[in-house]
Each structure stands twice: as C-alpha cells, then as structure tokens.
C-alpha cells in the first residue's frame, strides 16, 4: 500500500526528530516496509519541502555529514545557552558510577566494571567517557579476548578539580571495597530473576 505524501512527510519529520543522531536517506528508507517504500528521490523532495516549511520556524532541518537533523536557529542561542551556563551538564548516575570505578580501580576492564556494578555497562557510557577524554586505553589484559584496560586521564583530574589520583578520597572513608567484596563472596548465593 502506498502511503499518502502527507503521511510520508510526517513520518520523515518524526523520524528525524526522534533519532538521537542525524539520519541519512538510506536510514530513512529502512523505516518503510517494501510495499510502502518511497524512492530516494521522493524522500529528498519531501525533505526539501520540510526545509521550506521550517523556514519561518525557530528550528531548521540541516544536512550534516551523516544525514539530516533538526537544529535550533543560531539567533536563539543567547537564551538557549543559559541552559548550559547555569548548571554543569548533568552526568547520569550510570556514567558517574562507571567513572568512579575506573578512577579507583584503574586499570580495569569493562567486564570488571560490570562485575562490580552488577549490570551491563553500556557502550554509550564508555564512548561518552572517551569523548570527554576522561578515560584512555592503557593496555590489554592478557586473558582471552585481550580486553582493553581503562584508566583515567589528566583531563578527568582537571574536570573534577583533582591534582592527582592521590587526591581521590580514600575509599576506606566510605568503606573498604575489599572488605565488602570479601563479605559478598561469603554471602554469595545463586539467585535468579
């Protein structure tokens, strides 16, 4: 069944809005089932139309290397930027915990972080930490798979106003990790969800 032009345009618009990263024409095509799939040409025409529709709006559809995305027009930046000025970007709990474990346990593999946190560490988190230059790969653990060993960087220390790793508050102040692990080992039992 062919979709109407207006439905098609609405789908493209929603998809570009919903995607966390820019969408290419290929990716847009992949949203449609075979029988409803538009042509590349159609998609490009509709995106042009969208760009016109948004000409008078505070957002614009821009094309970047990896595809199309919506962006707030530069003229609003004096107000929008206040959102980032007043408060530092909020780091997610999962990210902070991952970072804390790397800081205290470095060098450490992803699997080890997961063992401590008890949940899978998402690739996004690791990537975000790399993106901020807060962590680096310092080697590989010599076990099957040679997993990367992660450690924190000087940029990490700067971001958290630390002079050196020695400035990290001793974990003992919280409670010694090893003691806890020992306790855990003894109370360790199989549990299933």
């Amino acid at each position: 069944m062919k979709l109407s032009q207006s439905l098609l345009k609405n789908i493209l618009e929603s998809a570009i809005f919903a995607s966390p990263s820019p969408l290419s024409v290929e990716e847009l095509l992949s949203l449609f089932a075979d029988e409803e799939k538009p042509t590349r040409q159609q998609i490009q025409t509709l995106i042009k139309e969208l760009q016109n529709d948004y000409a008078t709006r505070p957002l614009e559809v821009v094309e970047v290397a990896s595809g199309y995305r919506f962006q707030v027009r530069a003229k609003f930046s004096p107000w929008i930027s206040k959102m980032w000025q007043d408060k530092p970007p909020k780091l997610s709990r999962a990210m902070l915990e991952t970072l804390a474990i790397i800081a205290y346990r470095q060098p450490v593999t992803r699997a080890e972080i997961e063992a401590i946190r008890g949940v899978v560490v998402s690739t996004q988190i690791i990537k975000a930490l790399f993106d901020r230059d807060w962590i680096v790969v310092v080697g590989h653990r010599e076990v099957p798979g040679r997993p990367a060993l992660l450690a924190t960087t000087r940029e990490f220390l700067d971001a958290f106003s630390l002079k050196g790793l020695a400035d990290l508050p001793p974990l003992a102040a919280l409670r010694d990790l090893d003691t806890i692990e020992a306790e855990l080992a003894t109370t360790n039992r199989v549990e299933k969800e």
């Binding site: 995305r69 919506f70 902070l96 008890g118 958290f160 106003s161 050196g164 409670r175 360790n188 549990e191």
Partner: protein, 276 residues
C-alpha cells in the same frame, strides 16, 4: 498467563507403579488429575509464577474462587501436589515455595482442631493472615500490570532530539564539577553492594601491572613519598611483596628513584628526574 495443558496421557505417566511423590506419608502413584503437566512444561510453568503467593492466586482463580472463600484443604492439597511433583522432578524450587507449603499445612491442621467452646478465647481465623497477604499481593500484581500498560518512553513514546544552536561556547565549555559527585556515586555503589547480598564478584588477584600504575599514580604529581607509605599493611604479605616487586621493577626501568639524605634517614620515593 497461558492456560496449561491438563491432558493426562496415562501411558506416559505410569510406566511403572512407582511412586511419583510422597505427600504426608502417602505415596502418590498418579499425578493428580487436574494437575498433570508434562515435566518440561512444569519448569516453564513454575517460571511463570512470581512466587508462592502468585501460584496460590493462580490455583484459586483457576477455580473461580474468591480469595475470601478459599477451601483451604483443597487448595493446600493442590499446592502441595505441585510442590512435591516439582521436587520429584528435580526442578529447582525456591525456599519460599516450601515455606508456603508448610504454612498451608499448618493452617489446615488448625482449622481441623475443634473450636474452643469459650467464645472469649476466640482466635483469629488461621486463614485471615494468608488472605490478607494474598489480597495485598494481588493488588500489587494488578498495579504492576497497570504500570506495564502505561505508555513507556522508548517503547511507545519517542522523544525528540534537537541540536542546540551553534555556538562556540557550547563546544568549549568545560565540565565543571567537583569530586563529591563521583564520591557520591561510589558511595551508592558500595551502599548497594551492601544492600545486595548476592552480588558476585570474582576474586581479583593482586596484579603487578596494576601495582605499577598505582605506584606511578601516587607519584604522578611530582610529590615525594616516604617509602613505607607505598605499602598497605592490610593487603598482607602478598600485597607487600607485590608492591616491593613493583618498586624494584620501576627502579630498574628508571621510572622512579629512591632518595636518602643520609644513612638510616628515611627513604623517599619520587618520579625519576633526568639530571640536567
């Protein structure tokens, strides 16, 4: 929940007259008729339940009974038959299921006792507590279903992602935060580790490589450390040995150096400094 198959293929069941299970000193040679579920399905069946209360609710609801109106003897018989059967088939059974079986048996026996004639000594109906728990559980079971039916972000609801306006400041704006954030996160990890008794962590040996980094990190800011401060007594002999080996190796690689002002003066360790 899917309705279970209750067909009874006798030939499959009774290839011998061997007892399948023992319930109250009574050998069951036949799987209770309305209960029969193929062994494979039984494991799946058990997984379908969130616990003994859930299983009990299922047995009650299956017979269109009101919770307030449970025929304890009958339900107990059914429940215990399931449990015995599962044990017989070596299906892993959480302790809670057994506890419930014991509780049911106790309630049943109390109901069978003659009522005291003296009305002042009236006891609470032994079923009351169980009914209260069943009712309470059922409310939350329903609430969980309702919650699951709500539209969920990422499943039914998709949020928009719009790039903030271009602005040099945004790109260069550094993250400002202090360490208390991290510390808090770590405290949470530890707190949860305490909370969670069943956390499994593989014993991690002391690695020489890790100790290298620790020693170097300790000296990274250029500070000079008294030799013995590099050792953690708590780690025991092995820890001390590993640290010592690390120091020796780092010395050999000219990554650190030892300084001693005079004989018997304290030994200091610092990063290796190239002499000008």
């Amino acid at each position: 929940m899917t309705e279970l198959v209750i067909d009874t293929p006798d030939d499959v069941l009774l290839d011998s007259q061997q007892a399948l299970a023992r319930v109250y000193d009574e050998f069951i040679t036949q799987v209770p008729e309305d209960l029969y579920i193929p062994p494979d399905a039984l494991a799946v069946f058990l997984e379908a339940f969130e616990g003994p209360l859930d299983l009990l609710l299922y047995l009650i609801r299956k017979q269109n009974l009101d919770i307030l109106d449970i025929p304890i003897a009958e339900i107990t018989r059914q429940y215990i038959s399931y449990i015995e059967l599962m044990q017989e088939l070596n299906i892993d059974l959480a302790a809670e299921y057994l506890l419930m079986a014991a509780l049911l048996a106790e309630i049943k026996s109390r109901l069978l006792l003659p009522k005291p004639k003296n009305p002042e000594a009236e006891e609470e109906d032994p079923r009351a507590e169980l009914i209260r728990r069943l009712q309470e559980y059922e409310r939350f079971k329903k609430a969980a279903e309702d919650l699951g039916d709500l539209p969920q972000e990422g499943r039914d609801i998709f949020l928009t992602h719009v790039e903030p306006p271009v602005r040099e400041l945004l790109a260069t704006e550094p993250f400002v935060g202090d360490f208390s954030l991290l510390l808090e996160a770590m405290r949470d990890v530890l707190q949860r580790a305490q909370l969670q008794k069943s956390h499994i962590i593989a014993e991690e040996g002391l690695s020489l490589e890790q100790r290298f980094r620790e020693v170097l990190a300790r000296l990274a800011s250029g500070e000079t450390v008294i030799f013995y401060e590099l050792f953690t007594v708590k780690e025991g002999r092995i820890g001390v040995v590993v640290t010592f080996m690390a120091i020796l190796e780092l010395l050999k690689q000219k990554m650190i150096e030892l300084v001693q002002e005079s004989v018997f003066a304290p030994i200091y360790v610092r990063e290796y400094r190239e002499l000008a």
